[in-house]
């Protein structure tokens, strides 16, 4: 038997193009990340049996839920699947307790009640059992939806953008609750989101989706630092994405040199690209170091760039800076520095500053036309 708690294979051309191979281990949280219309929710619906792609095979804990080649299909109500809908889909005519009890029909009335109350305790909703959904806040409704999904004793928990309908403060609270809850669950959890930050915070692995196809899977940290393609980098919201030419490789110094506009940059050795080849490259803001004005250091010589701040926004303890390197070519890079660093260096609009691009942070990818070629 496979190590995976769930294996999913979906293919079809029409009406929604899908080409997906996915798996998820017990206790793992896999995030499906992609823009609207990329097929994320369709995949969740297919896993739940609410949508049947033309060619599909879903095996969950050794049980074949559907296999079009064998004309096998287990209907939704016979799959042990917990699905938290984007708008929660609570039954409006039933109380919180009754909502949860609907997923516990296999138990006696007495057991249903005690199990439902236990679940409500788990999601911190004690005392709310006789309330109706419309009297609950968004966060409370989400918790009821989670409790109801868990009541089914699911073999897989599916979360369809469950945090999109709540405010920022509640969202952060719910993130913490989900992280705590998942430690108690030994089932695969698949989360659909278009929020990169959310997936990075919550997921063990992410799968980047575009037009129904999975472009890359991996840990959030790895995928955001090492996207396979410029498209993945763009979907991961990487703003410092450019094109360049490989100049040469220096095996001894473990360096690859590239020409980017008028600049020569040094990256760590990436031999999969040959000299003269056109490539895309990117660097995360965390790999761009600000030159201290009061105390220059040797590190300032590593891929130094100088420019003028043309946009300066302070938010969440960070200064988000747009630095114009070359006014003629309009080359701009995004730099984020802690607010206290920005203050100490007296950064602000129109200030002239220097930054260094860490060579190990420069990631090369096959060439792909970018919207704004720089």
């Amino acid at each position: 038997m496979s190590d995976f708690a769930i294996e999913i294979s979906l293919q079809q051309q029409y009406p929604i193009p899908l080409d997906v191979q996915l798996h998820c281990r017990p206790g793992e949280l896999l995030a499906l990340v992609g823009p609207s219309g990329s097929g994320k929710t369709t995949i969740l619906r297919a896993i739940a049996g609410l949508y049947q792609p033309k060619n599909s095979c879903i095996i969950c804990q050794g049980e074949t839920w559907q296999d079009t080649s064998q004309q096998q299909f287990i209907p939704t109500h016979q799959r042990h699947v917990g699905l938290v809908f984007q708008k929660y889909a609570l039954f409006p005519h039933l109380t919180v307790l009754e909502n949860i009890q609907q997923a516990l029909a296999h138990l006696t009335q007495h057991d249903q009640q005690s199990e439902a109350l236990d679940l409500l305790k788990k999601v911190h909703l004690e005392g709310m059992e006789h309330r109706y959904p419309k009297t609950l806040s968004g966060g409370q409704q989400q918790r009821v939806a989670v409790a109801r999904a868990l009541a089914r004793r699911p073999k897989v928990l599916l979360l369809d953008e469950p945090f999109s309908a709540v405010d920022q403060v509640t969202r952060r609270k719910l993130y913490r609750e989900l992280l705590a809850l998942r430690k108690e669950l030994a089932i695969p959890i698949i989360l659909v989101t278009h929020d990169i930050e959310e997936s990075t915070l919550l997921a063990d692995r992410i799968a980047i989706l575009h037009h129904g196809s999975i472009l890359q899977t991996g840990t959030p940290k790895f995928v955001s630092a090492h996207p396979d393609t410029a498209m993945v980098a763009r979907l991961m919201d990487q703003s410092n994405l450019f094109t360049a030419h490989i100049l040469e490789h220096e095996v001894e110094s473990n360096r690859t040199r590239l020409r980017w506009q008028n600049f020569i940059l040094e990256a760590t050795y990436q031999p999969q690209f040959s000299a003269g080849q056109r490539v895309c490259w990117m660097i995360q803001s965390a790999n761009i170091l600000l030159h201290r004005r009061d105390r220059p250091s040797n590190g300032d010589n590593e891929n130094p760039l100088y420019g003028t701040i043309i946009e300066y926004i302070e938010s969440n303890g960070l200064a988000n800076i747009l630095l114009q390197i070359d006014p003629q070519l309009k080359i701009e890079i995004t730099v984020n520095v802690p607010l206290h660093v920005a203050k100490r260096n007296k950064l602000g609009l129109d200030e002239h500053i220097g930054v260094s691009l860490l060579s190990e942070g420069i990631h090369l990818m096959p060439y792909q036309a970018l919207r704004k070629e720089t």
């Binding site: 609570l90 997923a103 089914r152």
Partner: protein
Amino acid sequence: MDWLALTLSIKLSLVTLLFLLPIGIVFGRYLAYKQFFGKSLLQTLLTLPLVLPPTVLGYYMLVAFSPNQGLGLWLANTFGARLVFNFEGLVLASIIFNLPFAIQPMQRAFAAIPREIREAAACCGMSPGRILWKIELPLAWQGIVSAMVMCFAHTLGEFGIVLMVGGNIPAETQTIAISIYDRVQAFDDQAASIMSLSLLLFSMLTISLTYWLTERSETKHV
């Protein structure tokens, strides 16, 4: 007051409802949730009784139910059933002319239930039958009751089709609407006015009840 006619009208309305309730639920739900070839045509046919003059509809039913030809002949030969100028024929005619009044409000009521609610119920392990009983019917009941109230009132007051298909046989096919017409023809204005007033009050009551239920369905749980 022609109590015999009133009793017959109420009996006709109740028997009609007995058939229309399951028909309305099955067709209303199916039309609300399913997309299929010929759906528009089916909906057009079901809506026809709304726009056709009752006498036209009644004429076609009279022709169709006639024991001398077509459907009527087949029914007479196969089941020994005669559907013109008797109560059974009136019931069938009532069911047909009430179809849009039963199906359309129920279809709207089922369609108003968000798809996610039904899907969430399936994810809870509820079978389609249990979803209908525990989720869909409780959420659509105002629409169903409204439809039934409208059908009841409509049947109680129907004239053209009843006269065409049933004629005017006391205790068999003479409903209150026909009795009113009969009384007017006989210059018995007092009886006609009492029966008309009764029907007017009853109609007002049913429409008020329908509005009240609709308002409740809009404010409750939303």
